[in-house]
């Protein structure tokens, strides 16, 4: 539409005047929030109206006279108003008081809100307070144990690290298994592989989000709930709603917190004498005599004189502090929410911290009754002081190649360089990832005609990441001040949507709502780098060097989605609910033949407790049955997956001074959407006026055309390409209850419990074998009939007590001394059978205490790095578990005899996998213990405060597990990804495959919150 036309229309709107007599007004709650969907009936007539999202209603064509208006809405007490209508319109504003049961809370459903009782899909809601109270690297970690069916694996103890979030199992293999995150209607950038794969755990784009800004998080789990996000709903959707101004007048809040971070476990590595003893034993076992060779160019005496505890060198007590100020203002026309926060989150790894500074302003302005303009705007900065960890060094080195016989410095004060020296590496490396994130949305809500609401939002999500590294001359070996590097990436994510909603109540009992919408999203990622030699520090401190640096521009990537959708809701007597959703999506990632896909969904629910025949059932306050079916999709593959590409003609690759051009990858124009058929049946029940509420869901998700980055025979000339292959089945049960066990004036006790059982199976792989997609370190595979992330290993039987040598099992289960890859078999899995959480909250007078226990049962952990930490002596240190080794005939031990030659065990190399390193990954842990004190309101009043709270919080205090490694909760970057491309095995190697992965952190903190 051109501008002139728009201006003309606007002129018409504003110049027009109303002609009919009507009763109109606003319906709000006590918090001055509009009550949406409230029914206003003129008693004794068929006239009536339903309030729009602004709370506005209008009943037209009434003759003058006296009327009784009945205002009603689920969850609120009815209000009757008597009015006399004369020759002029009447304006009437009504405040409804809440009469809420748990089933009547509002739930964000995607492009709208519904009451929980109206919802026909599987949606779980978490209040912002629950997320904000927990000191976590990023807000999504706080979802752990609180939402049934949502597995959150916190990304080790590294500051700012990402959590791996999987909703109702894993239904993808190579395409991302991450849910879609939507903040105030904006699908945001969250991929933590966006900068590739570095340091042991990648920087997490979600960490810039201030948890204190979050009003609520809704997790959409089944297709009835997430089909409205059709194309990207296959892995579930996490809707984040930020706070907005409410109430009347200004309110201010301030929060300060401080704490410490410790590892949940410390590796118990050998000291110098112990290591030397093992080395010598292996040497002699191998048939040698004399002193065993010592690595690092050291003599035996030197080695004996050095005893460096590298774990102590890389682990410290991290500190944390944070402050947060907020101001909110409610009002008739303008509401405001503002927040300013600063958080310093130091981890237990020496030199590692994440600092977030964030500001947000959310404004809502209603210049006229039928229009509202809203602005959500946040600006945050994340500063990640990074260190190497895991496979990349740091604590990972302390657990591997940094031997205790190595000194930190030589006698002359120079750094020891003969072997891995993590202290030298850390002190000579400066590494910061700085991120600026601006998330801005502008929305407009109009009610141009009765019962119709038009909403539009345009948003811009901008992310600017600078990864700065500097290595001193000590590391580079060049005789200058050092080398600096900056990797820059800019992600611009533009999105708009427009929806029109028509609501109608017919004959009081038939409530209809139709939503039609259109959405478009386009994202652009640009990557550049700058590097320079002879720089005395990071580029951030050496601008002139940056200006003169060599700059490289990497290829940018772009993607776009175009979607049309509609949702129809029907509600009969607030008792029978039906919903139909249809969304059609197009993704630029697919070729024109396969670009569009449709995602329909049908669902319904029946509130049985509203039926007359249930009225007499004692104790039962609520009973609802719901069922749904729907399709959802996944297009989370690299933007260029389908193309056969060639290097640019100006690729700067010359041979003999001549230009070159070469193919980069194979084509597959037939890649199409990965789609899932979802079924969900559930019962929701409330007892004793909802003192006890239960929810039981059964779901089944059949995924087909699974997107896989397939390993193809290298003799083709390329190692991988993308294709849709095979299928995956997920099905499971979720059960949760909330119980207010004791409710008395001075003491309250509430229990929340949830458990989810998931069954996962790859149902087909087409023509491919289990090696088609590789996970972990060649330990995890895709196996038909087994779950995604199956540990596919040669089985270890035992140590031969006579020889001390390993005995393996062949495919048939017979013992053999031959190690052969043809004997690999499915022996474990990285996904648990059951996950869940238990929260008990106690309140005694002004004191409260909350205890969260999370658990995960039935998964395996593959401790991949232990193969070089036990019995096979390489250039790695070992941990104390090695003592359970064979030393003499007759010994019955866990580990075989020490050797320095892997061939002793029949292995082809020192990285060979066996089930000896496969562990039981079940655990339960005391995730959170919070004790709080709320200052007496009377005292608060004296201090001119509206509230004050002091709390002490401990996380990860205890863990119950049989796992003998560091920490059973293992979240990490999976190896293999680079250049921001999706990782071929990201769903198979990111959880429960540990390779020197740091433990989780244990934190203790105190927090003071005031409101005034």
């Amino acid at each position: 539409m051109n501008t002139r036309l728009l201006t003309f229309y606007l002129f018409l709107i504003f110049s027009a005047s109303t002609t009919a007599q009507s009763i109109k007004g606003l319906v709000k709650d006590v918090g001055n929030e509009p009550v949406i969907g409230a029914t206003v009936m003129v008693e004794g007539t068929s006239y009536g109206a339903v309030t729009d999202p602004l709370g506005f209603f209008e009943i037209k064509k009434l003759k003058p006279g006296d009327y009784r208006l009945k205002f009603s809405s689920v969850g609120y007490s009815n209000v009757i108003k008597e009015v006399t209508l004369g020759s002029a319109d009447i304006n009437i504003n009504v405040v409804l008081k809440e009469d809420k049961m748990q089933m009547d809370e509002l739930v964000v459903v995607g492009y709208g809100v519904q009451r929980k009782r109206e919802v026909t899909g599987a949606i779980s809601k978490i209040g912002g307070k629950e997320l904000n109270d927990l000191p976590v690297p990023s807000f999504e970690a706080a979802l752990q144990g609180k939402v049934p069916g949502v597995q959150v694996t916190v990304g080790s103890g590294l500051a700012g690290s990402a959590s791996i979030v999987r909703i109702r199992g894993i239904s993808s293999i190579s395409a991302s298994g991450d849910p879609l995150y939507v903040v105030d209607g904006i699908p945001i950038t969250q991929d933590y592989f966006i900068l590739g794969n570095s340091g042991g755990m990648n920087n997490n784009p979600l960490a810039t989000m201030n948890p204190d800004d979050i009003e609520s998080v809704e997790v959409l789990k089944d297709a009835a709930a997430n089909a409205i996000y059709g194309s990207r709903g296959a892995n579930g959707v996490i809707l984040i709603t930020t706070k907005r101004g409410k109430g009347k007048g200004w309110k201010f809040g301030a929060q300060v917190k401080s704490g410490v971070s410790l590892p949940t476990a410390r590796p118990k590595m050998l000291n110098n004498k112990e290591w030397l003893q093992m080395n010598q034993e292996a040497w002699e076992n191998d048939g040698n005599s004399g002193i065993a060779p010592i690595p690092g160019g050291l003599t035996y005496d030197q080695a004996l004189a050095n005893n460096t505890n590298w774990v102590d060198q890389t682990i410290t007590t991290g500190s944390k502090y944070g402050m947060n100020f907020s101001a909110t203002k409610g009002g008739e026309k303008l509401t405001t929410y503002m927040n300013l926060s600063h958080d310093y989150n130091g981890s237990f790894l020496v030199g590692n911290s994440y600092t977030r500074t964030a500001a947000r302003i959310n404004l809502d302005y209603s210049p006229v009754q039928w229009a509202k303009i809203g602005i959500n705007s946040s600006l945050s900065r994340g500063l990640n002081n990074r260190v190497n960890a895991g496979w990349s060094g740091g604590l990972g080195a302390a657990m591997s190649t940094a031997l205790p016989i190595y000194p930190i410095r030589n006698a002359d004060g120079t750094w020891f360089r003969g072997g891995n020296n993590p202290t030298r590496n850390k002190d000579n490396l400066a590494w910061e990832t700085r991120e600026i994130r601006a998330l801005n949305g502008l929305n407009l809500t109009l009610t141009p005609i009765k019962d119709f609401v038009l909403q539009g939002q345009a948003s811009y999500d901008y992310m600017d990441q600078n990864d700065d590294q500097w290595r001193s001359s000590e590391i580079t070996g060049n005789a200058n001040a050092g080398d600096a590097y900056r990797g820059m990436s800019y992600v611009k994510n533009f999105n708009y949507f427009v929806t029109g909603t028509y609501m109608k109540t017919l004959k009081e009992n038939h409530h209809l709502q139709l939503l039609v919408g259109n959405e478009f999203q386009r994202a652009n990622t640009t990557r550049r780098s700058a590097d320079s030699t002879n720089v005395p520090g990071l580029f951030t401190e050496n601008q002139a060097k940056l200006d003169a640096a060599r700059r490289l521009s990497n290829n940018g990537t772009n993607w776009a989605f175009l979607s049309y959708f509609t949702r129809f809701n029907y509600n009969y007597k607030n008792r029978y609910f039906a919903q139909a959703v249809f969304r059609t999506d197009a993704s630029s990632r697919f070729g024109s033949n396969y670009r569009w896909a449709s995602f329909p969904s049908l669902s319904g629910s029946w509130i049985i407790s509203e039926e007359d025949f249930m009225k007499g059932v004692k104790g039962l306050s609520y009973l609802k049955l719901r069922a749904g079916w729907g399709k959802s999709g996944n297009a989370n593959i690299p933007d260029e997956a389908r193309f056969a590409t060639y290097s640019s003609a100006t690729n700067n690759v010359l041979y003999n001074g001549d230009s070159t051009m070469f193919p980069l990858k194979l084509e597959n124009q037939n890649i199409r959407w990965e789609t899932s058929n979802n079924y969900d049946v559930a019962i929701e029940a409330g007892f004793f006026k909802d003192r006890l509420t239960l929810e039981l869901d059964y779901y089944r998700k059949e995924t087909k055309d699974v997107l896989m980055y397939l390993t193809i025979p290298a003799s083709i000339g390329f190692g991988n390409y993308w294709d849709n292959v095979g299928g995956i089945l997920n099905q499971g049960l979720e059960f949760s209850f909330k119980s207010r066990n004791i409710v008395s004036r001075n003491f309250q006790w509430t229990t929340n419990f949830n458990v989810a059982r998931n069954f996962n199976e790859i149902t087909s792989l087409g023509v491919y074998t289990e090696d088609a997609v590789s996970g972990g370190t060649n330990d995890t595979r895709v196996v038909v009939g087994k779950p995604v992330g199956t540990n596919y290993l040669i089985r270890w039987s035992r140590v031969d007590p006579n020889t001390g040598l390993p005995i393996y099992l062949d495919k048939a289960g017979n013992e053999t001394s031959v190690y052969s890859n043809t004997n690999r078999t499915a022996v474990g899995k990285i996904i648990p059978d059951a996950i869940g959480g238990l929260t008990n909250t106690f309140r005694y007078k002004n004191w409260d205490m909350s205890i969260l226990i999370i658990y995960s049962f039935g998964s395996n952990i593959y401790e991949s790095s232990q193969k070089r930490q036990a019995s096979l002596v390489t250039d790695w240190n070992m941990d104390e578990r090695v003592y359970d080794r064979w030393q003499k005939p007759g010994d019955v031990t866990r580990f075989p005899k020490m050797t320095r030659d892997y061939r002793t065990y029949g292995l082809p190399d020192e990285w060979s996998n066996t089930s000896l390193w496969l562990k039981d990954g079940s655990y339960a842990r005391l995730r959170n213990l919070t004790v709080g004190y709320n200052l007496d309101p009377a005292r608060c009043k004296k201090m001119k405060l509206s509230s004050m709270r002091i709390s002490a919080i401990a996380t990860n205090l205890f863990t119950w597990t049989n796992y003998d490694g560091l920490d059973p909760e293992i979240g990490r970057d999976s190896e293999g990804g680079s250049n921001g491309e999706l990782n071929s095995s990201r769903n198979m190697g990111s959880q429960n495959i540990t390779y020197l992965t740091p433990p989780q952190e244990k934190t203790f903190s105190v927090q003071l919150s005031i409101e005034f």
């Binding site: 478009f520 521009s553 993607w559 175009l562 193309f643 041979y655 000339g717 890859n821 292995l907």
Partner: protein, 464 residues
């Protein structure tokens, strides 16, 4: 506002929103080209051909040679990494170094086959002269790659009488289907056919690119590996008169301008170094820092036994007398080097050995080997007497081959060739670092990505 106006507004806005341009979804990759845009003309195919040289120059920068040396007896066991199993002859199909080289070589085969297909199927219009030359260059390069693929991933030619033992997958088209391995006979047939075509159509001179002589020199090496010495003699007789011996002892410092040069890969600077793997592996900085990869004691002793041999000066010993004694070679102590692939000394020593084995024209054989010895000593004092008998000539030639071509990957293939000829039963009379020349692990295992129902992997292990 009247209801009709509002409706008009509403409908207009809805149309506005539904009118999202579908062209917004036509997004193409940046910084790269799509195939249909990239490959349109003869010149484009020419660019792809240069990229094949570029890629091969990178893969033959000492890396292909290193894999051969690891299996042989010229190197000490590497300190760590996936090259250790190559050294120990225990590779399995998860060895990422092995998979890397294998995939890289086949990637060049894909490019070469693509060029051939595009010329053959007429999708790119090419002139006859271009087609003739480029086809010949493609076939030369393809033969060179397959010759190394079959020597590294299969037991040597001659292991079975009819060479029906398995070689490598033959791909003559750019294709995406899994395939079974060809036999070694089929592999060598392809190599010989390709080289025949190349020789017939390559130009006599072609700058730094493949020439007729380059193809002939490769053909001589193929025959030599096949123990087909009569044909070695014929090809060498054709080529040797066209070149003269260079006095430089280290041919790497003069790979481009040497009078011996037949085919070399070109380096133009440190950023364009086609001997990078040689330099990264073997370069040592000073007397306290040995190179990452060290020489074997047996090479060191043989190469330094006679200090009058000026080549002995290339070798350096560290920690002499201690248990940590190590040996390095200084031929690669440079920032960058061009990379000699085929040159006269190879032909001379091949012809010398061939003639001695054939028992014909021994004086030419002795002359050839003496050219090499004379250069090494700087005088004729150590030359073979003209009456040296054939078996002694053979012994000396083989020793000279080891001393002349260290780290160039010739040694292990020499031992395999000799094994085929002199110990066909694998009785143990010809050993490669204590292992029978045909023990299974001396053919590297294929990468796991070849795991399809049609593919048969190599047996593993079985070596000392």
């Amino acid at each position: 506002m009247s209801v009709s106006m509002k409706k008009l507004l509403l409908i207009s806005i809805l149309f506005l929103s539904l009118g999202s341009c579908r062209k917004w979804l036509e997004i193409y990759p940046e910084g790269v080209q799509l195939e249909e845009n990239a490959v349109k003309t003869q010149a484009d195919l020419g660019l792809i051909l240069v990229s094949c040289y570029d890629a091969m120059a990178n893969h033959y920068n000492g890396r292909v040679q290193f894999f051969n040396e690891l299996m042989g007896d010229n190197l000490e066991k590497p300190q760590s990494g996936f090259t250790v199993p190559i050294y120990l002859r225990t590779t399995n199909y998860f060895n990422s170094d092995v998979a890397g080289l294998y995939g890289d070589l086949y990637n060049v085969v894909f490019r070469l086959n693509y060029i051939l297909l595009r010329m053959e199927d007429g999708t790119i219009v090419v002139d006859n002269a271009f087609k003739t030359r480029v086809t010949a260059e493609v076939k030369f390069l393809r033969a060179m790659i397959y010759f190394d693929l079959v020597r590294i991933w299969a037991q040597p030619i001659g292991t079975t009488a009819d060479n029906s033992h398995l070689g490598v997958v033959i791909r003559k088209l750019p294709e995406t289907t899994p395939k079974a391995r060809g036999t070694v006979a089929e592999n060598y047939n392809l190599i010989l056919t390709d080289l025949g075509d190349a020789i017939n159509n390559l130009p006599p001179s072609n700058g730094n690119y493949a020439t007729q002589d380059a193809a002939k020199a490769l053909l001589a090496k193929v025959y030599f590996q096949m123990n087909d010495y009569a044909k070695v003699k014929d090809v060498c007789n054709e080529l040797i008169p066209k070149y003269t011996m260079d006095t430089t002892l280290n041919r790497f410092v003069n790979a481009l301008n040497s009078s011996e040069k037949i085919f070399s890969f070109v380096s133009t600077g440190t950023g364009d170094n086609r001997a990078a793997a040689y330099i990264n592996n073997y370069r040592f900085l000073n007397t306290t820092n040995p190179s990452p990869i060290r020489m074997s004691k047996s090479l060191y002793l043989e190469a330094t036994a006679d200090t009058l041999d000026r080549r002995s000066k290339f070798y350096v010993i560290y920690n002499q007398g201690s248990s940590a004694e190590t040996y390095c070679i200084s031929k690669f102590n440079y920032d960058f080097l061009s990379n000699p692939i085929s040159y006269l000394t190879q032909l001379k020593l091949m012809r010398a050995e061939a003639l001695a084995i054939l028992g014909s024209d021994l004086s030419t054989a002795i002359g050839d080997v003496n050219d090499v010895i004379e250069r090494a000593y700087g005088n004729q004092n150590n030359n073979l007497p003209t009456n040296t008998i054939a078996p002694d000539v053979i012994l000396v030639v083989r020793k000279q081959r080891r001393l002349e071509f260290p780290m160039e990957g010739a040694r292990v293939q020499d031992l395999k060739r000799i094994g085929v000829k002199e110990d066909p039963a694998g009785s143990g009379s010809v050993l490669i670092r204590n292992s029978k020349w045909n023990c299974p692990g001396l053919a590297l295992q294929f990468p796991v990505n070849e795991n399809t129902s049609v593919f048969k992997f190599n047996p593993e292990g079985g070596c000392e």
